[in-house]
Amino acid sequence: MEKLTKDDVHPSIVKALLDQETNITFEDALENEMILNMGPQHPATHGVLRVLLRLDGETIVAAVPDLGYLHRGYEKMAENMSFYEFIPHTDRLDYISPPANNTAFCLAVEKLYGIEAPVRAQYIRMIMTELARITSHLVAVGSLAMDVGALTVFLWCLREREKVLNSYDIICGARFTTSYTRIGGVAADMPDEAIVIIKDFIAQFEEKLDEAERLLNTNRIFVERLEGVGVISGEEAINMGLTGPNLRGSGIDHDLRRANPYMLYDQMDFKVPVYNEGDSLARYFVRADELRESCKIILQCLDKMPKGEIMLNSPKKVLPRKTEIYTKMEELIHDFMIVNFGVKPPVGDIYSAVENPKGELGFYIVSKGEGHPWKMKIRSPSFCNLQSLGGLIKGHMISDVVAIIGSLDPVMGEADK
């Protein structure tokens, strides 16, 4: 490996790493503190996260995360395309849970338009969102276990995730980049075949989850590598803007599904798991418990889901069906207008946030009454959760860094936008 020289690290990052008195050298590591560059191509950083660590021996004195290696400029792109055109791009934000992002975006646009999807579509969206939560937490738990050395659980988790992806395949024709929701509904109805697959999956999932948990919770190496590592108090977590499982691992009972219910979550019976320890182990426990709660929600949705329309009947705002476009003049005109110029919303700005697997995903949309947003800001949970990383890994060993990153569960596609 080549030695890191002073030119490789930008002076401003060095400045952020150091305080004034410290004498830093890039040559003689044994005598002094040294700077270690971790990432952006490190397998344990979950993507392209780069962290610069200032080390005293093996202890971390300071850490500066460096983002932007996956910056694709989605906010700029959004200003130049219609709302419909942006739906596929939401898949690429948090690429572990695309249906949840699709739903979040469509809810934001619907809030701006002042419309609401039909009941069946809302149930389908909720099922898809919870399935996305299951896949996301499975990857989070599995990769956390892998990062601290338990490879078996990772493979087991991915095997379970595979079954969920198979159901995506039947529901929306894609296993990964689903682009399933539309403004005012969902793209296709959920077939009975998919419902059977989901029910079968949930029926056997509990047992598989128990199996995996037995391997982890009683494993001394796993527990000792996470317990008391990366502790953040509840107050500090709020102050740092943590959301999602990371906040609930610090004893704060906050879940947007409960606090500001959207869709039909107010009719669902589920617990919000909260752990008070605030360490990496607590964050893992929250995710493991949420997996079970998501299954409960899906079963309730499947029971309650009525038959009916899956797209709102509002011709000026919602894309008509393909069969109608080919046969009816009026629908053809609407389709032409919506595809070419977009749907014109009222002038104003809205912020709509949902509880995504990683935390609060919010869209702030400013409309000037045109078919495309004047400005769209994506408030991504991974970005905000990563902010606490520098403080969390201070005072720990290098090997703890991977455990803490794994327990925060960032996805760089979302953090870098």
Binding site: H10, G68, H71, K76, G241, G348, E360
Partner: protein, 162 residues
């Protein structure tokens, strides 16, 4: 009385000489006021016993591409106790756009303000670590400004040396 109706009277009582422009669109409450007051207003909203807006969720800016009052800085703050989200807005001018940093009030604003600086070139005064967030440090442009072309500017990034 709901929390939504309480905020504006309480603010007006605390800052009697300030003009608070209130809009309520689709249930989102937005309060617009003079940019110089952002830190005292933020402190008041955070520390008030009833309001307790203890979480800063987002800081961003809007570029209106106009000569006067070109940018608006937007803050989204959330009260965990009241389960209520509030939007604060402050206008800043095109010439040397700057505003006081709210990091002393909400720590989480640190990265949000860095991102806003990176994308719009708005300086946050007394920010502890105002660096670029996504773009390279020596980058000259601010990509989310309206004059920046969608395709980018050819040759604006120096390639790393071999």
């Amino acid at each position: 009385m709901e929390i939504k109706d309480k905020i504006v009277p309480l603010l007006q009582e605390q800052f009697p000489e300030t003009n608070f422009e209130v809009t309520d669109f689709r249930g989102d409450l937005k309060i617009k006021f003079d940019a110089s007051l952002i830190v005292p207003v933020g402190n008041f909203l955070k520390q008030h016993d009833e309001l307790k807006f203890n979480m800063c969720e987002d800081v961003t800016a809007v570029d209106w591409a106009t000569k006067k009052k070109r940018f608006t800085i937007i803050y989204h703050i959330y009260s965990l106790e009241n389960k209520f989200r509030l939007r604060l807005a402050c206008d800043v001018e095109e010439n040397h756009p700057h505003i006081e940093s709210v990091v002393p009030v909400w720590k989480s604003a640190n990265w949000y303000e860095r991102e806003t600086y990176d994308m719009y070139g708005i300086k946050f005064d007394n920010h502890p670590d105002l660096r670029r967030m996504y773009m390279p440090e020596e980058y000259e442009y601010y990509p989310l400004r309206k004059e920046y072309p969608l395709m980018g500017i050819p040759g604006d990034l120096t390639l790393p040396k071999k």
